[in-house]
């Protein structure tokens, strides 16, 4: 049984998960538009906006803090564009300049202000202060928890995060079509009659709001991980944007819950002191991403390698059959294996021969190979594709006669059928009938 203390753990868990969801949803569009680092930049540069707002109002009030963060976010976006166009530097460097300077300004202001009433310090900015969200008079039973009065005890941070997460989801739902077009083709978006630039700024505003709301609870580092991580992971799992967003929400939630428990309850179960929850949540994000990177059924490295291996084995069998067919055309019915391995160097010939023999496509006698009848038909299909492609490349694509073999060698293995043509290839050889 994992120890879970309602008073100590409920609000931090809620805050972490809500922050993860708010950032995770918006992150989808950042990742698609190659703006991940804009999330990084904004999460650094909202700091001075936040500190100035706190300095002016003298307290951590939601309204001014959000306003300050939003302003800082807009300033960041505008400055990055300005520096990119005037300095003609890549956007990464331009972002680097802006967030460095603004973050340094924030650190300086924070240091100067730390004697004042501000309840925020540099440590909190980086790692957040999840652990301080304690519910002192938490109910002892689950029934009491499910009553309406629980809502009254929710700390300000949790309420803010819930609101921001709701707004982020609502924004995505309402403007899904616009966001999608703007993400994939901003120029098309403009011709469709809505303002892609406005969409961009709205998105950045929301990122700034989500960033600053998450700031206090989980810190700026987790914010970056949450903006980028769930979306990038989801992108490895699906090709559809809506599914990707759903996945990213699921991943963000998992990371929030699992990460938080890994920081508090799991060490406690082993009698150890808890570690920083923002850190473990980030680590879980990294773990999930790594998992997807390797093991995603559609896009993971492992399946890609498997698929590539399958394709190369299939291609090698085709190649072996085609070589035997060509030899038969020259009057050689038996071809020594050594000749094949020499002419098809670099391809898995031996494995292909073994498989082809198992499928009764070829017959082996000693070290010599012969096509069976089935093998001959299969080989004729490969040769037909090869020679039709050569015909196409010479006649329609204008490829020189002595250059067509290699591209045709690749095209013969893909599933697309070559266009029909005359019954002789450009070299004058017969194209076998279907």
């Amino acid at each position: 049984m994992i120890p879970f203390d309602l008073g100590l753990d409920l609000f931090p868990l809620l805050a972490a998960t809500l922050a993860a969801i708010a950032c995770g949803v918006l992150g989808n569009f950042l990742v698609l538009r190659k703006l991940s680092l804009m999330g990084d930049a904004i999460s650094h540069s909202v700091l001075p906006g936040l500190v100035i707002a706190i300095l002016i109002t003298g307290a951590v009030a939601v309204g001014p803090v959000m306003l300050g963060a939003a302003l800082a976010g807009i300033v960041t976006v505008v400055l990055v564009e300005l520096i990119k166009s005037l300095g003609r530097v890549e956007s990464g460097a331009a972002m680097g300049v802006v967030f460095s300077i603004l973050f340094a300004l924030g650190v300086l202001l924070l240091q100067r202000a730390s004697a004042g009433a501000a309840h925020i310090d540099t440590e909190c900015v980086l790692y957040g202060q999840l652990e301080t969200l304690v519910w002192y008079d938490a109910p002892a039973s689950l029934d009491a928890l499910l009553s309406f009065s629980t809502l009254q005890h929710l700390p300000r941070q949790v309420v803010t995060l819930a609101a921001v997460a709701a707004i982020a989801i609502a924004f995505t739902a309402v403007f899904f079509k616009e966001l999608r077009i703007a993400a994939f083709d901003a120029a098309l978006a403009t011709t469709q009659g809505f303002n892609a630039t406005l969409m961009h700024y709205l998105l950045m505003l929301l990122v700034a709001a989500a960033t600053v709301a998450s700031f206090e609870a989980v810190g700026s580092i987790l914010v970056i991980a949450m903006l980028v991580g769930p979306a990038a992971t989801a992108r490895l799992l699906t090709d559809r944007l809506l599914t990707q967003i759903m996945w990213s929400i699921a991943i963000a939630t998992t990371a929030g819950v699992v990460g938080y428990l890994a920081a508090t309850a799991v060490p406690a179960a082993f009698g150890l002191a808890s570690v920083n929850a923002a850190g473990t949540i980030t680590a879980v994000v990294g773990l999930l991403f790594t998992l997807a990177l390797f093991a995603s059924p559609s896009h993971g490295f492992v399946m890609r390698t498997v698929r590539r291996g399958r394709l190369s084995r299939r291609a090698a069998i085709d190649d072996v059959l085609a070589e035997l067919f060509r030899a038969a055309e020259r009057g050689l019915d038996r071809v020594p294996l050594a000749d094949l391995t020499a002419s098809l160097a670099g391809r898995p010939v031996r494995a292909a021969v073994r498989t082809a023999a198992q499928r009764k496509l070829i017959q082996t006698s000693g070290a010599e190979l012969t096509l069976t009848d089935t093998g001959h038909r299969a080989a004729a299909r490969v040769i037909r594709r090869h020679r039709l492609w050569e015909r196409y490349l010479v006649d329609r694509a204008g490829v020189a006669l002595d250059h067509v073999h290699d591209p045709a060698e690749q095209l013969e293995h893909i599933d697309t059928e070559p266009p029909e043509g005359p019954d002789r290839d450009p070299h004058g050889r017969d194209i076998p009938a279907e």
Binding site: V31, I83, V89, G92, S100, I101, I224, G279
Partner: protein
């Protein structure tokens, strides 16, 4: 005035040994980061350095813990820096590994590696905080920097690293330039691109790790990026860029550490970056050709010239030697000129001797130069129209719209060529 005296005293190295050590150290660090930053910017590796610097934290924490387990002094700086360098390199390798996947782009890879490795560092840090008495103090310094602890030995290290960076930039100048501007070309003609990138990465790791103590891991990347981008505004030449980058970096280190020494409760790391930021802002605004002010002036001058050209062309088309005030107002309204802009247009025309005011009236008289200019603009206009219709396949009804914008930038050589072509064309047409 006392503050001023303080500043002068600190700037001239008379504020005590410790302060001098800090000033010398940060200046040298700025020099090194400035030079390496230019090389990184050229190769578009600025934000990879950001990932690298954040990723030093888990290395520092791990080195601290491992050293403690092995019974060594965990706070020993060389051990911590070694750990920092190791995990920084691992992070860079991780970014490269992730980039092998076609669906994950560089920005996402950098963002992920940066935050996840920092998060792991934070876990280590919180572990140390609770399990090693008084342990985290030494490590926290790596996050925001602790310039005040700088020793003469550190200054020697900074000097060495700055020297290494400068020597590498000078010796391998051509290599860095070729690979930075066109790596595909460099590879195709047999330059060892991988080796040069490795050298650059080594330099970035060196300056990042050596800057950890002084400005902290979050801001050390600023010292790589900000001086380099600031230098970019002043020059188009790589050699000058390197010099400027180094100088701006050094100046930031120097000014920042002086300011931090004079004013109490100012974290040196942040102030150094802000000094770099001030120099950057100055460059952004005031640089002669790239700066924002210059750009605004240039654009305004172009707009004024085009507007003036329109007026002169109109006068030419109507074969008028003068433009009456009422007519002028009408044109201004039609063109959407604001009254100040109209005044500026007229002022520019008069200044260039294109027009003169007729004594005693508000009518504008076109001078000989103005007539000549108007004729030339009109001819260019006509030529472009012809060109666009005959050569560029633009519908006649759409011609004038695009012509208005280009006639003012047409150079004379092109005009001659166009005239010759069109003359042949029209001869052929009449035959």
């Amino acid at each position: 005035m006392a503050v001023l005296a303080d500043i002068v005293e600190t700037m001239t190295f008379r504020a005590g040994f410790n302060t001098n050590v800090v000033i010398a150290g940060t200046t040298l660090l700025g020099l090194a980061t400035g030079v390496v930053g230019v090389l990184a910017l050229l190769r578009k590796r600025s934000l990879l350095a950001d990932a690298l610097s954040h990723a030093t934290l888990p290395g520092v924490a791990a080195a601290f813990i491992v050293a403690g387990v092995l019974g060594m002094e965990g706070r020993s700086v060389p051990i911590l820096l070694l750990g920092a360098a190791a995990s920084g390199v691992v992070a860079v390798l991780a970014v490269h590994g992730i980039l092998r996947h076609p669906r994950i782009r560089e920005d996402a890879a950098i963002g992920l590696v940066l935050s996840v490795s920092f998060g792991i560092g934070v876990i280590g840090l919180s572990y140390i905080q609770t399990n090693v008495p008084d342990g985290a103090g030494g490590i926290n310094a790596f996050i925001f920097g602790q310039t005040a602890t700088m020793q003469p030995g550190d200054v020697a290290m900074m000097a060495t690293i700055a020297a290494v960076a400068i020597i590498a930039a000078v010796v391998f100048f051509k290599e860095f330039a070729v690979v930075g501007f066109n790596d595909a070309f460099a590879r195709s003609v047999g330059w060892p691109v991988g080796g040069i990138d490795l050298l650059l990465m080594t330099l970035i790791v060196l300056v990042t790790v050596s800057g950890l103590q002084a400005v902290g891991l979050i801001l050390v990347v600023s010292m790589l990026i900000v001086p380099a981008v600031a230098a970019r505004f002043w020059t188009e030449h790589l050699r000058t860029l390197l010099v400027f980058g180094g100088l701006i970096g050094a100046a930031s280190g120097y000014l920042g550490s002086v300011a931090s020494a004079v004013f109490p409760r100012t974290p040196a790391g942040a102030v150094i970056v802000l000094a770099a930021g001030a120099i950057f802002t100055l460059s952004l605004l005031a640089a002669p050709s790239r700066g924002a002010v210059a750009a605004v002036v240039r654009r305004l001058a172009l707009r004024l010239r085009i507007a003036g050209d329109h007026l002169l062309e109109l006068a030419h088309d109507q074969s008028a030697d003068e433009i009456e005030a009422t007519e002028l107002r009408r044109i201004a309204r039609a063109r959407g000129w604001s009254p100040p802009f109209r005044a500026a247009v007229l002022w520019t025309l008069r200044r260039n001797d294109m027009t003169a005011s007729k004594p005693g009236t508000t009518t504008l008289a076109v001078t000989d130069r103005g007539r000549e200019r108007g004729a030339r603009v009109a001819r260019n206009h006509a030529l472009w129209e012809q060109y666009l219709i005959h050569y560029a396949d633009i519908a006649p009804s759409h011609v004038d719209w695009s012509v208005d914008q280009v006639e003012h930038v047409l150079d004379e050589e092109l005009v001659r060529r166009l005239e010759a072509r069109l003359a042949i064309d029209s001869q052929a047409a009449t035959r």
